[in-house]
Amino acid sequence: MKIGVVVSEGPYTHQAADSAYHFVKAVLDSGHEVPRVFFYHDGVNVSSRLTIPPQDERHIQNNWTNLAKEHEIDLVVCIAAAQRRGLLDANEANRQGKDANNIADGFRISGLGQLIEMGIQTDRLVTFGD
């Protein structure tokens, strides 16, 4: 079965990004698929490669990047939500005249249509948020 996942809160502040991570791992372990995870609202903050959590805490962005690589999961960051909150890739930074970018490896920025498409193309959709 194909299960789509939405993450709508930022890392560390809410448990959502952690819960979604454990859930996606369990989906994969159960032999089902997670073709895409969509990051919306403050969820876009999960994609920042600039986070430096304390040594004894989990590294949420690294966890997602590694999981996505290993299982070819499409991690999509909503562009409208990302722009409001200061999450940019190199392309966007260039286009918008910003002098830095901060999106981590394994995440890609795209439109809200990707969320609707995920709803259409998956069998179930689960949202982790606040």
């Binding site: 299960i3 454990h22 859930f23 791992k25 989906v27």
Partner: protein, 102 residues
């Protein structure tokens, strides 16, 4: 046709569990996750309502979240079934849709 509902907030601080219980239908399942697991506490002022609803709706609690918050043994209502993340996935696939009460 049935729905899996998830609730991730404490019923003592927000109305999410209340609203979920008001809208779920007989045969549905409610899974308490994150701070939502406090809804499974014994002897609280939510216990009776959850126990009563458990007659028509199957109520689950995500055990990693319950453990994190020290909700084990007799702190958990007997009417509530503990599942791990694999059980969470099974509930998602078993029911026709998931509705998340954020």
């Amino acid at each position: 046709m049935s729905t899996l509902h998830t609730v991730n907030k404490s019923p003592f601080s927000t109305q999410s569990l209340q609203s979920c219980l008001n809208h779920c239908k007989d045969g549905d399942a409610v899974l308490m996750i994150e701070d939502g697991v406090y809804g499974a506490l014994t002897n609280s002022n939510m216990s009776k309502q959850v126990q009563t609803k458990a007659g028509n709706v199957t109520i689950y609690v995500l055990s990693p979240d319950a453990d994190a918050r020290g909700l084990i043994g007799d702190k958990l209502l007997g009417e509530v079934i503990a599942v791990d993340y694999a059980g969470f996935v099974k509930l998602v696939t078993k029911h026709d849709r998931t509705q998340n009460w954020l």
